[in-house]
Structures are given as structure tokens and as C-alpha cells.
């Protein structure tokens, strides 16, 4: 698979480490009343969709940036690559 890095251009997926579902960006509030339940869902439960899947890849053998890759899990076709930083900021996770 080739991941089209937003900064570095097309790179072999072998340069990256796979982390999992991009929902991992949305870490729950540890002070919330239902924090234990939310963290169980965050840590252990996954949609595991067959089809389009947004997922985190870390460019370990490159610029060490985190990416959000949109990929079809039934064909491995990659349709969108974003910097995880930008995604997190757009969701108000980071300032």
C-alpha cells in the first residue's frame, strides 16, 4: 500500500506503524461521572467497519508524524490522508 503523505508525498506503508481506529483521538474526559464506562469503550470496543475506515498511522521511518488515513478495509484502497494534528484541531482536541 502507498500512503500519500500530506507533506512528504507518496510513501510505502511499510515505513509506518499502524495504531488503529482514528476514534482514538477522542480521548474521554477522565473527570466525567461516567469516565470508567467511557474509557472501557475507548480502550476496548471498536466499530471494526467493513468498508471505509478512518485509522491512525505513525510515520516512524519518516518524519514521525501521525496521520489519519481513510481506507477501504475490503479493498485496501486509500482515499484520503490527513495530518492527525489537523484532524484533532478541527475537532477542538488540541490548541
Amino acid at each position: 500500500m502507498i500512503i500519500n503523505h500530506p507533506i512528504l508525498g507518496p510513501r510505502d506503508a511499510a515505513e509506518f506503524v499502524y495504531k488503529g481506529d482514528a476514534s482514538l483521538i477522542n480521548r474521554p474526559d477522565w473527570q466525567a461521572d461516567d469516565a470508567a464506562e467511557r474509557f472501557h469503550e475507548y480502550g476496548y470496543l471498536r466499530d471494526n467497519s467493513a468498508g471505509l475506515h478512518r485509522e491512525l498511522w505513525f510515520h516512524e521511518q519518516g518524519d514521525r508524524s501521525w496521520l489519519v488515513v481513510t481506507r477501504d478495509t475490503t479493498t485496501h484502497e486509500i482515499t484520503k490522508v490527513e495530518l492527525a494534528r489537523d484532524v484533532a484541531r478541527a475537532e477542538g482536541r488540541s490548541r
Partner: protein
């Protein structure tokens, strides 16, 4: 029809006109006591033990494609019970014991071959860990033996014992481990289940569940609605897709695992060799092909095919420990979709929906578990209590802190 040597001779002399189909091609009835979703090894074994051991009736196995067309037809056929943890080892040892009697039980030649399995050791630390695992195995009634390098070389003279990074310092052997003809397992259980009246319904895909007031009363399928008192999902690889239709999110990611076979060679490998440090294991099929594999590709996939970097990685591992592998040509490679659970161990449990049961999360260890998985799942379905060897395989163990993590790597499915 009973299979026997006498029968083979009789049929040979009479033009093979007496063989009937090994199981009926059933059409779905409107209602069953038990509907098992998934006609793979585990689903068919569940149906067989439910009918035979637990004497239940009115059972159907429904399968999207043809039986045995999923992971039971795509694995590397190894059986073993060399686990460490109390939650796992009694279960896998029970499974190995069932394998040992399987062919007589089913009157079916599954080519169960207890040719032995050796896990290679490369360092003092690894030897300590393997001794601990061997002792855990023995405590649970399994067999284990620590081998010296000389004992391994006597059996496998071609192994590279002086690899600079991973010299072979011994091995942990389980002599009762081995290989089984994978397709024959599905066919044998199907034939056995059919004999006890189980309906095996192929080309019947589940499209939804009928759930009323928290009770599951049947499944919608491509061949119409089928009512059931108990519905049992047994579709490892596609568990999230099927259970998602019941609104259940699982602690599972689907990943692709590749396997490989070389061209047929003369007998070379007497048993199974695993080079865990190099992510490689190998056995030789009765047809002569070297059957080998390594790690999962490492990303979510339902594609049943992997990518080339892992092919290279597996072959590099093989060449490091087994240099003469380079003289053989790779004949075929394929991928299977694994339910990778969050702790690397399976789930056999009820769900919060009455009448809906779940079996999955087998990671890449499902084949060896087939008999015990079927037995334990049938026990759960018939009695609503877990089998004594499967009490740890609960669906809620991640919320309650009961993880069964053999490698201790945490909730990162692609590391198990």
C-alpha cells in the same frame, strides 16, 4: 453410511455407485430451537456436539457461502496446547484431547498427525520463559519437554543453529502437537452433525436479527426469516459485521493473516518448527509442500489478501533459520481474516440480549481450538452455563479486568 476399509474395497468392486452425499443440502424450516450462524469448523463442531453430546434437536447451521469456505479452509493446520495462562491452557489441552479421538468419534479420516511441535529458544531469558510455560502445561495435564540444541539438530540437521542474531539455544517441544487435514475437519463435523439430524443450510446469509424487548427470536436471511429459540453467532473474521446487526460493538478488530505453501518436496520436515523471535513457523504437508506463515499484516482488513512487505518479512525469517528454504519456490499464498481480540484470547459467552450467543475473537489460533470451541459453545447453548474449561472467555472481561493476555502486550490487537 459407515466408512471403513471394507467399504472402500466393496465400492471399488462395484463401480463406486454406493457412495451417497456426506450431508443433506437442507432447505430452511421456519423455526428451529437452535440456529448457529456460520458453517465453519467451529459452527459445525458446535452443532455436532449440541446434537450428540447434549442431545438437543431441531438445530440448523446457516452459512453465507459453502461450508468450510472461511478460515477452516485457510489456516496452516497446526494443533497444539502450549499455552501459559490458567484461562487458556485447560481449554486448549481439552481441545488436543478431543483431536486425539476425533477420527474415531466422527468415523472420518481427518489425517490427525501428532508429529510434534518445537518452539525454538535463542536466549537465557527466553529459556526461562519457556520453562515456565512448559511447567504450566504439565500442571494442566499437557506434555512438554525442554530440548537441547543437540536434540534439535539430531531431528532437524539443516536448521541454522549459529545465526548471529538468533542462535538456537534449545527448544520447548510438545510431542502431542501436530497437524490435521483442515478441510476434513469441517466435512467430518458436517457429516457427523447431519447424521444427528442437524440441517446444514448453505448460501444463506444473515441480513439481520429479530429482537423484541431484549429477546432475540430469530434471524432475517437471504432465504427468508428463520425463527429460533437460541441464535448462536460463530463467524470469526466477520464477528463485528454480524454482531453489529444486533447493535453490539465488540472488543475485536479484523486483520488479515497470510499463509504460504511451497512446491511439493520430498519429506524434509518431520514436525512443526516455530521461530517466534523471527516471526516464522513451518510444517510440511503430506503432499510435500512446506506450509509456513508469520505475523498478521497489522492493519484492519476484510480483504482475505495481504500485501508484499509481510511476504518479504516472513520469507526473511524463514531464510534466517532454515536456509535451504531458499531452494524451494513459493507455490501459493493466501490471506484469511482474523478476529483479533483486545487481549489475544477468544470469547464464548452469552450477550446482553436473551437468546443471542457469541463465539469469536479467535485471533490466529482458531483452528486448533475447533473441537473444544464447539464443545464449550454447545455446553453454553444447552445449559446456559460456561463449560469448565471456558469460564474465562467472557465478553465483559475487558470491563471487569479479567483479560487473558498471553504476551502481556495490552489492548493493541495487531501485537497479539
Amino acid at each position: 453410511m459407515h466408512y471403513s476399509g471394507f467399504r472402500v474395497i466393496k465400492e471399488a468392486l462395484t463401480g463406486h455407485r454406493g457412495w451417497g452425499p456426506a450431508w443433506r443440502d437442507a432447505t430452511p424450516k421456519s423455526h428451529y430451537d437452535y440456529v448457529i450462524i456460520g458453517g465453519g469448523g467451529h459452527g459445525l463442531a458446535t452443532a455436532y456436539y449440541l446434537a450428540k453430546q447434549f442431545q438437543q434437536s431441531n438445530i440448523a447451521v446457516i452459512e453465507k457461502g459453502w461450508i468450510g469456505g472461511g478460515n477452516v479452509g485457510r489456516n496452516t493446520t497446526i494443533i497444539r496446547s502450549n499455552y501459559l495462562l490458567d484461562g487458556n491452557e485447560p481449554f486448549y489441552e481439552f481441545s488436543l484431547q478431543l483431536w486425539e479421538g476425533l477420527e474415531q468419534e466422527l468415523n472420518y479420516n481427518a489425517m490427525v498427525s501428532q508429529r510434534g511441535i518445537i518452539n525454538l529458544i535463542h536466549s537465557d531469558g527466553q529459556r526461562d520463559a519457556f520453562i515456565r510455560r512448559g511447567n504450566a502445561m504439565i500442571l494442566n495435564g499437557a506434555d512438554a519437554e525442554l530440548l537441547t540444541t543437540e536434540q534439535i539438530v539430531a531431528r532437524y540437521p539443516f536448521l541454522n543453529v549459529n545465526n548471529a542474531r538468533f542462535p538456537i539455544k534449545g527448544g520447548l517441544a510438545q510431542h502431542r502437537g501436530g497437524t490435521v487435514r483442515h478441510d476434513a475437519v469441517a466435512w467430518g463435523y458436517a457429516r457427523g452433525a447431519d447424521k444427528y439430524g442437524v440441517d446444514i443450510i448453505q448460501n444463506c446469509e444473515v441480513t439481520g436479527f429479530q429482537i423484541k424487548n431484549g429477546v432475540c427470536t430469530g434471524v432475517e436471511t437471504t432465504r427468508g426469516f428463520i425463527g429460533a429459540k437460541k441464535v448462536a453467532s460463530c463467524v470469526a473474521g466477520s464477528s463485528s459485521r454480524v454482531m453489529g446487526m444486533a447493535g453490539i460493538r465488540l472488543p475485536i478488530e479484523s486483520h488479515v493473516l497470510q499463509a504460504f505453501v511451497s512446491e511439493g518436496l520430498k519429506p524434509l520436515l518431520p514436525g512443526v518448527i516455530t521461530f517466534g523471535a523471527g516471526h516464522f513457523y513451518c510444517s510440511q504437508s503430506d503432499k510435500g509442500g512446506l506450509v509456513f506463515g508469520g505475523d498478521i499484516d497489522g492493519y484492519n482488513s476484510y480483504a482475505q489478501r495481504g500485501n508484499l512487505p509481510v511476504v518479504e518479512d516472513v520469507c526473511e525469517g524463514g531464510m534466517a533459520i532454515f536456509p535451504n528454504l531458499g531452494r524451494a519456490r513459493l507455490l501459493r499464498m493466501w490471506g484469511g481474516v482474523m478476529d483479533m481480540s483486545m487481549d489475544g484470547s477468544p470469547i464464548i459467552d452469552r450477550t446482553h440480549i436473551d437468546g443471542l450467543y457469541f463465539n469469536g475473537g479467535w485471533c490466529y489460533g482458531g483452528f486448533k481450538a475447533t473441537p473444544a470451541s464447539g464443545f464449550a459453545y454447545a455446553h453454553l447453548l444447552a445449559t446456559d452455563t460456561p463449560h469448565k474449561t471456558a469460564t474465562a472467555y467472557r465478553l465483559d472481561r475487558f470491563a471487569k479486568g479479567g483479560m487473558i493476555d498471553e504476551k502481556g502486550v495490552g489492548n493493541q490487537p495487531n501485537l497479539h
